[in-house]
Amino acid sequence: MKIIKTTKKQLLALCGMATFAFGSLSAAEYPTAEVNTTGLAVTDDTVTVGQLHSITGTMAISETGSVEAERLAIKQINEMGGVLGRQIEIIQEDGASDWPTFAEKARKLIINDKVAAVFGCWTSASRKAVLPIFERHNNMLYYPTFYEGLEASKNVVYTGQEATQQIIWGLDWAYEELGARTFYLIGSDYIWPRTSMKIARTHIEQVLKKKDPSCEVVGEEYYALGHTNFRSLINKVRLRKPDLMFTAVVGGSNVAWYRQLRSAGVTAKNYPMLTISTTEDELLGIGGENAEGFYASMKYFQSLDNPENEAFVKEFKEMWGEDSVIGDVTQAAYLGPWIWKAAVEKAGSFDIDKIHLAHPGIELDAPEGYVRVHDTNQHLWSKAKIGRILKNGQFEVVAVSDELIEPDPFPEGYQ
């Protein structure tokens, strides 16, 4: 019985990642001395990787999903026979929502533990803190979060979207489908929302305005992280009547924002909203009924209808509980170990320089759909999607981009 179950799981995993036809390789074909010339923690039957997220502190809320997704991916890879015939072992460190701690733990993982790769970080601040260490000691970080762009390190693979992938197609969609001409930009006050809104404003004022001169930004505001009083803002929105609120409100502010909108009688019917920050994870706290009808621009929704996603959701719930939800970043985190495995096996080596060269062109049939690693910047080509928030806290997918959208971390004319 047990064996059948395992086989079934393996099969599912194989379906999920069909591109890895060369699933299990035996370690004997790849002697340790050949696949590991730089002294990483690779033995004849194991390879050690690091996992570096916040388990404690304010970011623990967001990073838990990523930790769980990476664990699931690694477990599935191990069940398929590991990487180059070696079982993956994990050393997990806690960044504790504190950026210097992230740097210190990254140093520990890379220098003391000599891990073969690290899956981790969530906020841009933590990524910026560890980046010099990864570059100096030449190791590889797989980073899951959608972020502001303006970065392309050879030591980082960005499995989330950079800003233009989320924003430009989303605004075009709102322009066409919702007839949005006036926009109110609202965000939390730190680098990601500010950079995102800058791109949004440029797109509205330079591109959309050319199509229709009535396009304009009627307001742009930022509120401190953790801010919980949006009543004044809501009154201002009511007065200016934008066709679309374009928002990037994060963390604890989210619940206050949506609840106060609802109790002030601002609903999706009269005031459409397109958000780039609310995923299934946040909706768990917000309550779907408080955000019903608003739109989100993401690349993944838990409700996506394809066999890879079905298997992924099923396995995730089996491992982490029936009540768990999967947001955009969680799915992106799930891709990290798979991309690393594909790169290692393509390179036939764990050496960081060889993996780096192997990354371009790696393809996956991921839960979000087909993705491909970009030739030069180690971001992913992926399809943008728009979801409408439902009462039960899930999304109904209402639009998917026809083409894969190219990652462009340094968008010309937008910065």
Binding site: T56, N235, G252, S253, N254, G265
Partner: protein
């Protein structure tokens, strides 16, 4: 503002005034517990915000329990949740005073450090035992509704409930302090501890109950905050600055001062937030408070009591 009709401007002024009033209530509720503990006992409780969060969690967990087991009670459970939050925070406050605070009287700086440590311990307990994710209470629909006195004025029902709750708690507290035996003992202890003790007031027990009462009131405040915002282990860090702000500005230890300063902050933030963008409004708010505190070094309304 030339494009707007008189009607629109009138509606927005009304709604904005109400949002200022809601803010006033929030500031009062945040500051009350801190005010009682400092005003009556001279203790600065750095773990104050965690008692607010404790109330929020009680409310959240209770609402989940009710919606899972007794869905028919969803519309009314808040009536039970408020005393429950009070009881939980009161009980924990009682224990904390007994085990920790009572050993540190007259060591103000040590109390500061000890209660701050306590706040960290509470945060980790919330995270370990309840979970790191943000949660919020399941609310009945009527509480999320809107009251429309005219076509264009939208008043949130939870703002009205907040107003009623604040009035009820404050009136209750004033009556309790001025009319009840325990209130009399509390005031006596505050004014002259040795003499009260000599006259047979059990000052130790009075302290314990005062502390627990203050925590209980914070619990109720916290329970209500979760109807407006989410609760996470570190949610207290969002409250603590505002709580101290309202207390310090009000002159540390006077109920009237607390109200005046809450009104001042509520009106000022509403006006500033309306006329400038959110983050800039905050900067101006703090700048104005600096100036006010330089002018009135003891707060807007400093009490003259002996301690």
């Amino acid at each position: 503002m030339g494009d707007y009709t008189i009607q629109e401007i009138y509606s927005v002024v009304v709604m904005q005034s109400f949002s200022g009033l809601s803010l006033l209530c929030i500031f009062v509720l945040m500051g009350l517990g801190l005010y009682i503990i400092f005003g009556q006992m001279g203790v600065i409780n750095m773990a104050h915000a965690e008692f607010l969060v404790m109330g929020s969690y009680t409310m959240c967990l209770f609402s989940k329990f009710i919606s899972a087991n007794f869905p028919w009670m969803m519309n009314y459970y808040i009536i039970l949740a408020v005393p429950l939050s009070f009881a939980v925070a009161f009980g924990v406050g009682y224990l904390v005073e007994w085990l920790l605070i009572s050993r540190l009287y007259k060591r103000a700086l040590d109390t500061l450090l000890a209660t701050w440590g306590l706040s960290l311990i509470f945060q980790q307990c919330f995270r370990s035992f309840i979970g790191a994710r943000e949660i919020s209470a399941d609310l009945p629909d009527w509480l999320m509704g809107t009251w429309m006195p005219t076509d264009s004025i939208f008043i949130p029902v939870n703002g009205l409930v907040l107003l009623a709750l604040t009035i009820a708690i404050t009136v209750g507290l004033v009556l309790f302090m001025t009319k009840s035996r325990l209130g009399l003992r509390m005031r006596a202890t505050t004014q002259n501890r040795e003499m009260s003790n000599a006259l047979g007031v059990n000052t130790k027990m009075t302290d314990r109950l005062t502390f627990a009462l203050a925590c209980g009131i914070s619990g109720i405040a916290g329970a209500f905050f979760t109807t407006m915002a989410s609760t996470s282990p570190t949610a207290g860090t969002n409250y603590i600055v505002d709580s101290f702000l309202v207390l310090v500005l009000g002159g540390l230890g006077s109920l009237l001062g607390l109200f005046i300063s809450a009104a001042f902050l509520g009106i000022l933030s509403s006006v500033l937030e309306f006329f400038m963008s959110g983050s800039l409004a905050k900067v101006w708010l703090y700048l104005i408070i600096f100036v006010v505190l330089m002018k009135f070094t003891r707060g807007l309304f400093s009490a003259r009591i002996r301690t």
